[in-house]
């Protein structure tokens, strides 16, 4: 299988779906002439022209609403937020309109829109530029939330997202764009709502998504050296959530660490923790442990930024703690 860069996998997904379906178009800041702030849309303007690859003004509410309206009329927009931080100025469009439209119209108007972009902390971009919004969007019925960790998953999920008739929140991470991974040449889709065991193990389950998957795998290596066998479960989609996959793993390992980059309070980890306690109460040998960002805005300075973000060592420590080690 060809080894492909994460951003290139996304780019392939966009290109293939644009070839397949004329109704798919791309819109966002710097996606066309500039080839994307993070080069995810590189070359697409040249291939598909101005009609289908469109640079927007810096007006997220406006172009998100435009996308929603066009989706109601049958188009399939892929909207890029340069980063998900900027979706906050458009969140009313996403929640009040995109998420609720199909329901509110009694099933008349579906909104097949994909909103994608970089999510979470990058490298020292400070607190207005480092939001993890998983828990916001996953809280709202009507939205699908994806958070792939590998080029393979990213491509398969993005293609599935574009073909899906619901609004999809597609979270990427700047620190992953350069990651390399196997991506097959033949076409494939990933089923929405299906998680993936990224590493098998028997002693403790680590649930992680996006960048934390890599950290979890590193942690598993370290733990292995200490004789602890960790299973890494990547839900891939935050909503719908493949909780059964996580629960099955927990029933085997009796322990769960949920690692996420975002804040803890009412975060995604809270949900996984609550669900697993509900489903596996009698199986658990230790309460679920949440690993997440400090309960402070993310600062700029390297040392305290690093201290605030969850990392491999935090996961290792949590896994050991779950084993009372």
């Amino acid at each position: 299988m060809p080894i492909t860069e994460f951003r290139q996998a996304l780019n392939q997904a966009l290109e293939e779906e644009m070839i397949r379906d004329e109704k798919v178009y791309i819109m966002g800041e710097e996606v066309a002439e500039y080839n994307g702030a993070y080069k995810v849309t590189k070359g697409l303007l040249d291939k598909f022209g101005e009609k289908r690859v469109r640079d927007t003004p810096i007006t997220e509410a406006g172009f998100t609403g435009l996308g929603i309206g066009s989706a109601m009329m049958g188009l399939r927009p892929v909207v890029e937020y340069m980063s998900w931080n900027f979706s906050l100025v458009a969140i009313d469009q996403i929640i009040s309109n995109a998420a609720k439209m199909y329901y509110m119209t009694g099933g008349q108007f579906s909104v097949p829109i994909v909103m994608r972009g970089a999510s979470g902390a990058a490298a020292q971009v400070s607190c207005q530029h480092s939001h993890n919004l998983e828990s916001f969007y996953a809280h709202i019925p009507g939205l699908i939330v994806m958070a792939p960790s590998t080029p393979y998953d990213a491509k398969g999920l993005l293609k599935a997202a574009i073909r899906n008739d619901n609004p999809v929140i597609f979270l990427e991470n700047e620190m992953l764009y350069g990651d390399m991974g196997e991506v097959p040449e033949e076409e494939y889709l990933i089923e929405i709502g299906k998680g993936d065991i990224k590493r098998e193990g028997t002693d403790v389950t680590i649930c992680a998504h996006l960048r934390q998957v890599g950290f979890a795998l590193e942690a598993a290596e370290i733990l292995a050296k200490e004789g602890i066998s960790a299973e890494v479960v990547d839900p891939r989609t935050i909503k719908p959530l493949d909780i059964d996959l996580i629960a099955d793993s927990v029933r085997k390992t009796k322990r769960l660490v949920v690692a996420e980059e975002g804040h803890k309070f009412c975060g995604f980890g809270s949900e996984v923790s609550a669900l697993i306690h509900e489903m596996c109460f009698d199986d658990l040998d230790h309460p679920v442990i949440r690993v997440s960002q400090g309960e402070n805005p993310l600062p700029y300075a390297k040392n305290i930024e690093a201290a605030s973000l969850p990392d491999v060592q935090d996961i290792v420590a949590a896994a050991k703690k779950s084993l009372y080690k």
Partner: protein
């Protein structure tokens, strides 16, 4: 009137009366607690939507705020379908899920009834964008209130529309108030068409109390928009007779003021013009009115007798 012609005039008069009687039916049913939640009527503003929508073809789209019954009825929904929605019945146009603020009709390209002030503006823009993208000859009428015109989405949408040559017509139904706030207490400049020039689009002032003017103006505006694929901003002067919603006592305006506007009543004045043309007489008017009343009565019966949504409707349509 000549340009309108008798047939069209009769049709529009009927639409205005239908809307008015329908809204009166809503008011009554609200008092009787058949309708709950919020309920905003269009009484007084009939000439705006009727005059504008008279020029639409089946390709065109339209969208508005929570004050959305009229556009539904004018665009082709039956009184039964809309009234049943008010009552929250499964026979309603959105299966009882939306209620008064969320009338929609996919088959008529009616992108609905929206509750967040200003929230529908970019969606209307997007509908027009889609028409252009698919190379269909069509426009999207995007209705909103004077109060909505100062929301950020207005600015962002007008800029995008002009920049991308989107065939959307922004229609500010300037009914003088956003809830209890007179437009000059909320808008630095209540003559909203003044904003058009800055976006390099055409701006229009239209008398929305007079169907003849409204019909004529929108005819030209829509034709121009289709021909040149350029957006336009229209400020329509109008007035709502009732409170903002059914629960608003309307203490912020004087009886005199209301009376003054009612003297320009769009239905009455249009009827008079038609009478002058010899297209209708008192008897004809009464017959029409009676017909509309009967239609609304039937719709009320229908709504009352229709069943509630079944329980599985609760979890239907969360995802497509």
């Amino acid at each position: 009137m000549k340009n309108i012609g008798k047939e069209k005039a009769l049709q529009m008069l009927e639409q205005m009366i239908r809307v008015r009687r329908f809204e009166e039916g809503c008011l009554k049913s609200y008092q009787q607690k058949f309708i709950t939640g919020f309920c905003h009527t269009y009484i007084g503003q009939e000439a705006v939507a009727v005059g504008a929508m008279a020029h639409l073809t089946p390709t065109d789209a339209y969208i508005t705020s929570y004050r959305c019954h009229a556009q539904g009825l004018i665009g082709g929904l039956t009184s039964r379908e809309v009234m049943a929605e008010m009552f929250g019945k499964i026979t309603g146009c959105v299966r009882g899920k939306g209620g008064s603020m969320h009338v929609f009709s996919k088959k008529n390209n009616y992108l609905g009834g929206h509750g967040i002030v200003g929230g529908q503006i970019p969606i209307g823009l997007g509908a027009a964008f889609a028409l252009k993208y698919e190379e269909k000859e069509g426009v999207a009428l995007t209705f909103f209130g004077d109060g909505a015109s100062m929301q950020g989405t207005f600015h962002e949408s007008l800029n995008l529309a002009s920049l991308w040559d989107v065939p959307v017509i922004f229609i500010c139904e300037n009914n003088q108030y956003g809830m209890g706030t007179a437009n000059d207490r909320a808008l630095a400049n209540p003559q909203v068409s003044d904003f058009a020039a800055a976006y390099k689009m055409k701006g229009y002032e239209v008398d929305g109390m007079n169907l003849e003017s409204s019909y004529k103006a929108f005819g030209e505006i829509i034709a121009d928009c289709k021909k040149n694929s350029r957006p336009a901003l229209v400020n329509v002067t109008t007035y709502r007779y009732q409170g903002h919603s059914v629960s608003d006592a309307g203490l912020y305006r004087t009886k005199d003021e209301v009376k003054c506007w009612k003297e320009k009543d769009p239905i009455n004045s249009f009827y008079k013009s038609m009478e002058e043309q010899g297209w209708i007489d008192e008897e004809g008017y009464k017959a029409l009115d009676k017909e509309m009343k009967a239609e609304v009565k039937d719709a009320l019966e229908f709504a009352k007798e229709s069943p509630w949504p079944p329980m599985d409707e609760l979890t239907n349509h969360v995802y497509a």
